[in-house]
Structures are given as C-alpha cells and as structure tokens.
C-alpha cells in the first residue's frame, strides 16, 4: 500500500532535505530488518509553501507512522495514497 506524509519545513536548506531523506531511508531499513517492510519512494518539496511530501510503500499506516516519528521531523498528516500510472495507450494518438 502507498502512503503520503506531509511536512511543513520552513527555513530548510537542500542539505537539510538530503539529511532528512537519509534519515527516512535509515528508519525504513531498520523497520524492514525487523520484518515490517517499509520503503521510502522519494520526496517532493514545494518551496513556495515549505511543504515536503514523501511517498512510502508499506503494509500498514502504523509502520509508516513509526518510521516518521523516529526521524525527529514532525509531520502534519499521513494519508493512504494511490499512485496513478496511466497506461501508455492513454497517450496514443
């Protein structure tokens, strides 16, 4: 299942974002090694609104919550998400 976690991160630098991404991967790996697979699929930062959206793949919202509570960066919401991948034929001319 997919989940998206949103954070507000005002006054954040590129180095901070890289550090957070590394922290998320570390936390995911730890939980996965204990038999609860969680994968961080990547983040998107919207500078104008200081919003960071991170996508996860996991068996449960709780696993995603555990990962995100351990990276010392508060989040404003955690929601189930659906990744939309249009089939190639949708663009057929």
């Amino acid at each position: 299942m997919m989940f998206v976690v949103e954070r507000r991160m005002p006054n954040v630098s590129r180095a901070d974002l890289a550090m957070l991404q590394e922290a998320l991967r570390f936390a995911c790996d730890r939980l996965t090694s204990r038999g609860e697979p969680v994968r961080c699929l990547g983040s998107t930062f919207v500078p104008g609104q200081a919003r960071l959206l991170t996508l996860f793949e996991a068996g449960s919202a709780e696993a995603v919550r555990t990962v995100n509570e351990n990276v010392h960066a508060p989040f404003v919401c955690l929601e189930a998400a659906i990744q939309v991948d249009p089939a190639p034929e949708a663009y057929a001319v």
Binding site: R8, M9, P10, N11, V12, S13, A15, D16, M19, L20, E22, A23, F26, A27, R30, L31, Q49, A50, T66, E69, N70, V71, H72, A73, P74, V76
Partner: protein
C-alpha cells in the same frame, strides 16, 4: 578559537552521591574504547550499573573534550520525537528556531568536540540510533556514549556488555580477606557500613555475605537495596527474606532474563518490607517524570492514609531505604531509578490509582503553568520552575492526549505556558503536541479556539506567518461565535501579532482589534489585557510613523507592567518604546528603555528577547560613536543567537550591517575583531553587566566560590579525603585512616581534580583551606 583550559570543561554531570566501587577493568575498557570508536553502547540488564559506569568514564575523560561532556537522560521520555529536545536541554540550549530541530542541533554541534552520554535508550532505540548516526555523520568532533539494555543496532557502533559485579567461582575456597576483595562484596560492604558503622566482612559473616551477593547475582542495584536493610536485619534474615522471593534457579541459568527476575524480585522484596504508609507513596511517586520536590509530592500523593504533613517524613524514610535518591541542593529534589519507578507504576495500576494519580499530577503541572502565565511579579521564578519540571510537563501533556476527556486541560497547560515557550522554547515540539490535540477538540468549540490561539502564537514566534494568520483568524471567529470574551481578546492579540507580518489589515481594523482587547481587560478587571491592547496601540502608531501618538499609550502600558513588576509583556513594550524614542532622537531615553528590557529578558531566561535588545543597544552605541562597545555588543548578540540557533531577522539585516561596517571602519579590522570576540566569549554574568552598563561586577570572593563548589560537587567521601589532604596527610596515611586502599584514595583524588578543574593536590589543598577560612569567617 583557542581551546578552553581543562579546568573550565563544561558539563552537566551529576555529583556522585555514593562511592564508585569496583569496575576498574570495565572503566579502563570504556575509556580505551572511547578513544577508538565514536559510538560506544554499554549494554546489560537493568540494575547492572551501566549509567554509573558511563558517568564515571565521562567524568574521567572530560579533559579530552574541550566543549564538554553532557548527560542526556532519556528514562522519563516516552515520545521519540522529544529526544532531540532532551539533547537541547542537556546542552543548555533553547530551541526557538523555526527550522528542523535535528538539523539545527547538527549545525550547532558541527564544530564542537564533545561527548554526549545518551542514558537509558532501550525504549527509544530507533530514535536514538537515528539521532546518533545523523549527528556523528555531520559532527566530526562528536563522540557518543550510550547506555541501553540492548545495542542501538547501527553501523559503526561498538558494544560493551556491563556484567554484574565480580564474584568468585562457585565452590572456590576463600579467606574472608579474599572474599572482601570481590567487587560485589566490596559494594555490599561499603553500603552496609554507611548504615551500620563498623560493618566489615570477617570470618563470622564472610560466608553469608558471599551467599547474599551470589543470590543477588552481583547486581549493584539489588546489592544496594539489600545492604540498607542490614541496619535493622541480620544477614540471615535478609537472606531468608530473599530466598522466599527468589525461586531457586538452576545452575547456569544466569542469563539476562534471569538477572532481571532477580532484580524484580529484590525490588519486590524491598517493597514488601516497607511500612503501610511507605508502599502507596512509592507507587504514587511513580507518576513523576524526571524528579520531584516535597511540595509536589504533597500535592499529588497525599491522601487520607498519608496526610500532607507526613509526606516529608515518609520521603526521608524512602531515601534511607534507597528507594528514592535525594539530590543535593536547595530546595531538596528527589528522583527514582527507572527500574524502581516502573515497579511503582505497576503497583499503582494494581491499586487502581493510576488514572487518579495522573490526573493529580496533571493538576499540579497546571498550577505550575498558571503561575508562569499569570503575568505577575514572580514570573522569572515561575519560568525557572517550569524548566526544572519540563519532563513532568511532557508527561502530563501525554496523559491529556491519551485521555479524551483531558484534552481541554492539556490545551490549557500549553496556553498558560505560552510566555514560557516564547521565551525559552521548544516552539516546534509544543506546536506538534498542539497539532495532536487539535483533532480531538469539537468543531467550533472554545477548546479548539484556544488550541488555535496558542498554535498561532507559537507559529508567529517562529516567523511562520503563513500558518499563523489563518489560525488566528479562525480562533477569533470561534471566540465570537461562542461569545467568549477572553478568547476574543486573546485571539485579537494574536491576529494583531500575525498582521505585523502579512500587512493585510488597515490601520482602523488594527486599532479596533486593540480596542477590543482593552475593553475586555477593563470589563474583566484583567490589567494584563489592558496593557496588551494599549501596547498594541503604541505599536500600530509606531508602524504608521506617528511617533507622537505612540508615546502616550506606550508609557501607559509600561506603567501598568512596572506597577505589577511584570517582565514578559514589559519586554515587548520596552522594545517598541525604545524604537519610538530612538526615532524621536531621544537617544538617552531609548538606551535606558532598551537596557531595562534587556535586564527583564535576562531575568526571564529569554535569549531570543535578550539577543534582540543587545543588538539594538549595539546600534545605539554605534550611533553615539562608541564603536568598541558596539562591536562587543554585536559579538554578545551573535553568541546569544548561536546558542538558540536563530539567525538575525531579515528586517534587521540592514541596520546590523550598517552598524558592523561603521564600527569596523572606525576601529580597523584587528580592533573590531578583538572587541567582537570579546563579546562572544565574555562570561554570562560579565556580559549582562556590560550590556546594562554597570561597573564591572567584582568577582565573587574566591573563598565563597570554593566553599560552594566543594559542597555541591564532591561526595561526602571525597570531601573527607580532600580535608585530610589539606591537613597534609599522604595517600598512604589517608588510606590507613579511612580503612580503604591507597588505590581508592588515588582514584578519589583524580575524580576531585577532574570535577574541580584542578591539576594538583596542592591546588586541591588550597581550595579546602580557603573554604575553611571562609567558613570560619562566617561563623559556620
């Protein structure tokens, strides 16, 4: 920057209350490993002495860390997201920045060489592991010493198991003297001698002592709990009592779980031996996180079976029985080892009192919050009290979050503490906690309105206007919908505050909001609301450039704050009025107001507020041509901002640069750098005196300083040895006098030199002599 001399290595290590027995081999190993690895975790069962070993090693290695050794106690923290905050607190920093706290911390530690001791990590393993890894990656001078029942489980970690104290092999035939040298026996013997003077291991008791130590698996905590019982029981009685509690275990089954059972059983046995009135007090005290004082214990724990006037006596009894520790200092403060506390908590649940006691604890925290938010004459003391009890505040808020009916109380605590959070942080963590409260409040309800008000204030304090403004607007709407005048007044204030950033309201709209606050204050007889509203009128006039019209409301608001001896609101108004006077060309008055504000912010411990006023005074000094003073003040302001990890506000950048360039130009590069660095490195007391432009404070009489330091830092045994050194005795003579080994004397001396930042016995003798002279001079 040059390294600070060894004598001034900063630290927050607690004074040892009892002697450190044995562990010579483990201590050497810890110190050796710390020179080779940057992350060392001491593992072992509960009660094995991991914390004690870590603290002793940290104290002995302090000289290797120019930026100090710092203990971060995590035992009473349940929320993994509060771990970073615990590090901030341990380092004496304030987190009032708007950035990501881990990144902020990492930035602060990046250039430092220090040792962090993360104590009791087992219940926060993931959070601690990530903290350690992140900080070690970005801070090359950092080392981490962790204690935990299990390793953190991260790359680069070295683990060292802390075994129980040594015991001879089963079946070995030993003389009493040989028995006495075993570490476990030495600890039991030393602790027993503290309650039963003259206790020693000899041919009459060595066998029983050894049996007791084996029964307790050599676990230091278990040995300490048993030893204190020897005051009123014989060895055989203690052994028989423990035999009943501890099932006979098969040979070889001495693993970690078995030791935990031994410890639990020993604690249970100790509990069973208590008086009827002592047992419930132990259980009830378990609601406190991070310690408590007598007043708190009375308020939370007293009941029909334990009247308030008996609490002190029963506390003293629990101290004697090693259930709680009494920390030195005034007023007396008590703490409980986590293992003992958890046992008490379990008993509290069994008694069916857990929620009742948590509610009382919450009520006590609310009282602290009300005192801090009262805008009264005891504001500074109330802020200091809150800081001391922060672990208890988090614990109370956690209770409120988990109990649906307690959410309003949790919000009230946060709201009342808003001036404290503003002054000392941690803004980010409180906002996060309020965000968990928010969905638990009913839509359009007054608690939701207050939640939004507080969130908006804190967001505004972090310059997060985009978030603050809609919250303020919604808070005001809810206040009006419910006809809650207090909420309307407060929400109006925060709306005004956020309007400073977004400029979306006209002057008339702003003045109407200010008038609403004043009207409410008059009708409810709340002077603070009248002062806030009046102060806002001054601010609005100032921002419109109408300086003449700003004076009267500003002076009026100031007069109200001064008459109530209040500091927080006064600081804000003083800042505005100083700017009014400056722009009117009344520089003397402007400086006087800024200095008054700085004194107040210093008293409140608000480094952010103080930094701003020191910066303002620097500009004023530059305007007067006092360039050395300006450069020094710029340096101190820089140091303050660095300690709270905030940058200069963009709106102040131009004036800052102008001041710096002017001073640099007039003084020259070298003189400017000297003055600036002087401001950065000036000791705090001297810096405040400089800011306030008082004559340099005379340093405290060295003898008084020496006397205070000795009494507060050294253990009783260390003091005893220090005095004998001052009397001219050698280590051999001292060992003979005190019936301890010469090696033990040497160890104590080393510890004392490290603690006091001294480098020789001669210096130590000098300190003691001065302390004696001071004591004689004062008639004590």
């Amino acid at each position: 920057m040059a390294e600070a001399p060894a004598r001034s290595r900063p630290n927050n290590l607690p004074a040892e209350l009892t002697s450190f027995v044995g562990r010579r081999k483990q201590l050497s190993e810890v110190k050796r490993l710390l020179t080779r690895t940057r992350l060392l975790t001491l593992t072992g069962s509960g009660g094995a002495g991991k914390t004690r070993l870590a603290l002793r090693a940290a104290a002995e290695m302090a000289r290797s860390f120019p930026d100090g050794v710092w203990l971060v106690s995590l035992a009473s923290i349940d929320d993994p997201q509060l771990v970073v905050q615990a590090v901030f607190s341990a380092l004496g920093l304030q987190d009032v920045s708007g950035g990501w706290s881990l990144s902020t911390l990492s930035g602060y530690l990046a250039g430092k060489r220090l040792l962090l001791v993360l104590d009791n990590c087992e219940h926060l393993l993931d959070s601690c592991a990530l903290l350690a890894v992140s900080l070690l990656r970005s801070c090359p001078g950092l080392r981490v010493l962790a204690t935990s029942r299990q390793g953190l489980g991260t790359t680069g970690e070295t683990r060292m198991r802390v075994p129980p104290l040594s015991l001879p092999e089963d079946g070995a035939w030993l003389t009493p003297e040989q028995v006495a040298t075993c570490e476990a026996v030495a600890l039991l013997s030393e602790r027993a001698a503290a309650v039963l003077p003259g206790f020693r291991v000899d041919h009459t008791n060595s066998s029983a002592v050894l049996r007791l130590c084996r029964r307790l698996d050599g676990l230091p905590l278990a040995l300490e709990l048993a030893a204190v019982r020897l005051e009123g029981m014989t060895l055989e009685q203690v052994l028989n009592g423990l035999e009943r509690e501890l099932p006979v275990l098969a040979r070889g089954s001495r693993g970690v779980e078995a030791r935990q059972r031994t410890l639990d059983a020993t604690i249970g046995w100790s509990y069973g031996l208590l008086e009827d009135v002592e047992r419930p007090l132990w259980a009830r005290l378990s609601v406190f996180a991070g310690g408590f004082d007598e007043e708190a214990a009375q308020m939370v724990c007293a009941g029909p079976e334990l009247p308030p006037d008996r609490v002190a006596e029963v506390l003293a009894s629990l101290v004697e029985k090693s259930i709680i520790q009494r920390d030195p200092g005034r007023p007396a403060r008590y703490s409980m080892l986590e293992t003992v506390r958890q046992f008490g908590r379990q008993r509290l649940r069994e008694l069916g009192e857990e929620v009742t006691m948590q509610r009382r604890h919450r009520d006590w925290v609310l009282q602290l919050a009300l005192a801090a938010g009262a805008y009264g004459d005891k504001e500074a003391e109330a802020f200091d009290r809150v800081q001391l009890e922060l672990d208890n505040v988090w614990s109370a808020l956690d209770f409120c979050r988990l109990q649906q009916r307690e959410v309003a109380a949790g919000i009230e605590i946060c709201r009342q503490l808003q001036p404290y959070w503003w002054s000392r942080g941690p803004l980010g963590d409180v906002r996060r906690i309020l965000e968990t409260f928010y969905p638990l409040t009913a839509e359009n309800s007054v608690p939701r309105g207050w939640c939004l008000f507080t969130m908006a204030m804190l967001a505004g304090a972090q310059s997060d206007a985009a978030v603050a403004q809609p919250m303020a607007t919604e808070s005001l709407r809810i206040g009006r919908e419910n006809g809650d005048k207090k909420l309307i007044s407060s929400a109006s204030a925060v709306t005004l505050f956020t309007s400073v950033y977004v400029h979306q309201k006209t002057e008339e709209e702003l003045l109407r909001l200010a008038e609403a606050i004043i009207d409410y204050g008059r009708s409810a007889d709340e002077w603070s609301a009248v002062a806030v509203g009046t102060g806002w009128v001054c601010r609005i006039r100032l921002s419109q450039g109408d300086l003449d019209a700003a004076v009267e409301p500003g002076e009026s608001a100031l007069a109200m704050c001064r008459s109530h001896d209040e500091l927080f609101l006064r600081g804000i108004i003083l800042s505005n009025m100083a700017e009014v006077r400056r722009r009117r060309g009344e520089l003397d008055q402007a400086e006087a107001l800024a200095r008054e504000g700085a004194a107040g912010q210093h008293a409140l411990g608000s480094r952010r507020g103080l930094a701003m006023l020191v910066e303002t005074l620097a500009w004023m000094a530059s305007d007067r041509g006092a360039d050395v003073r300006a450069a020094t003040l710029l340096g101190y302001a820089h140091h303050l901002r660095e300690s709270i990890m905030v940058a200069l506000l963009p709106v102040h950048q131009d004036r800052h640069l102008a001041c710096e360039q002017t001073a640099r130009g007039r003084l020259g590069e070298a003189a400017f750098a000297r003055a600036f660095d002087g401001g950065v490195t000036m000791p705090a007391r001297e810096a405040i005196a400089f800011v306030l432009d008082k004559a340099r404070a005379r340093p405290a009489a060295r003898s008084t300083t020496a006397d205070n330091r000795l009494a507060s830092i050294l253990t009783r045994r260390e003091l005893e040895i220090a005095r004998l050194i001052a009397d001219g005795l050698t280590s051999q003579q001292i060992a003979a006098r005190l019936f301890i080994s010469e090696r033990t004397v040497t160890t104590h001396v080393t510890n004392m030199l490290n603690k006091l930042g001294l480098s020789s016995r001669v210096q130590l003798a000098g300190w003691v002599s001065e302390a004696r002279a001071a004591a004689q001079g004062s008639g004590t």
